[in-house]
Symmetry: C2
Subunit: 218 residues, 2 copies
């Protein structure tokens, strides 16, 4: 019997990355989850991320990069407590090169444990606004990763070219407990319902024709 | 008058990166230094890094990524207190994708402050053993950085194709207080003289025909 291929899944606790987690399991990968603290307001997503990996029995590392606040304060409302999270897509909700940082740590981890795949939850709807969600970006990063490690580590976003509603349908198929995923950019305890990420979530359920199990405060 | 171009310098406190710092100043860049804690034994290099930027009056961020220990324990002797630093080039002194991680944070920082250049201290002698010191690596990373930020950030290693002895000669020319740079992989208080990095340092001074001001214990 051949050992299953090891895969690192970058897991935020949000709907997209949790569905990637279940997808990777269904594909037969030996999954290692990696979650990052970077000073984000939405700490609840970390708690949820832990819930999922505990349930599935996966190795899960939480890496505290909250020192990145040094760089991100004054730059992004997802970190800076003095900036409001907006409902529109505007510069303050971009966290510059966040996926680049997460990927670089995932590459170091993959190299250390001998994983040949890295999966992350970029999705089709992010592509217009977030350059570090685009296939040309993560394939360029993959090349740098291979040159920098001399390993054949592949980076992929399994839902990189589908919409949120397709991911939701897929999640239902995979048995993901969607009500436990966390999308909101704010601190909770329940989804605000009005930030850009909550709006996408709501729209995704509506478009998929799936009843939205989420409790929203607004 | 045109504002000087902003440049982020990845600064370890070692001979190579400190010389890059002085070089960047001499080139007229508006320099922002970035130093990383990643659980390394050689904490003294951080102290020295601070000394140099204080002296030159540069903005300097120290980013605590010591949570990377989670990944690097058992993998590299530069971090793991249970592994000895060796004098030979062997796998345990490699820190997988370390430069990739440092660069990704430098890209986020450059994007946040509007810097157009990132410089780091890879040198010709590292190229054989450390894949993340090679030009093909950092140019691939540069491409990923540009795609991931939509900014024209350039990454360069000004001494990427010269030997340690050439850097030492250049450092003398630039007035770098070489006796304050720290190369040793161990904890100090003085250079061990026998780890791979100390051996390179000693050889570099000898080859450059410059009197080595370093105190070695072995």
């Amino acid at each position: 019997m051949v050992d299953p291929v090891k895969a690192v899944v970058i897991l935020s606790g949000g709907l997209d990355s949790v569905t990637v987690l279940y997808w990777a399991q269904a594909q037969g990968y030996d999954v290692f989850a990696l979650t990052f603290l970077y000073g984000q307001k939405a700490e609840l997503e970390i708690k949820r991320a832990k819930e999922f990996t505990a349930k599935l029995g996966f190795t899960h590392k939480i890496i505290d990069l909250s020192a990145l606040k040094e760089i991100y304060i004054g730059v992004t409302s997802l970190v800076d407590r003095n900036l409001d999270v907006t409902s529109e897509f505007t510069a303050p909700i971009i966290v510059p090169f966040r996926n680049g940082i997460f990927m670089s740590v995932a590459v170091a981890y993959a190299d250390s444990i001998g994983a040949e795949r890295i999966f992350y939850g970029a999705q089709g709807g992010d592509v217009a606004n977030y350059p570090d969600c685009r296939r040309e970006f993560y394939k360029a990063f993959e090349k740098a990763a291979q040159l920098g490690t001399e390993k054949t580590i592949e980076i992929d976003a399994p839902f990189g070219n589908v919409t949120k509603s397709t991911i939701i349908s897929k999640a239902v198929e995979l048995g993901v407990p969607l009500e436990r995923t966390w999308s909101c950019y704010n601190q909770g305890p329940i989804h605000c319902g009005i930030c850009e990420s909550c709006l996408n979530r709501r729209r995704g359920f509506a478009d998929a024709g799936v009843i939205d199990p989420t409790q929203y405060s607004g």
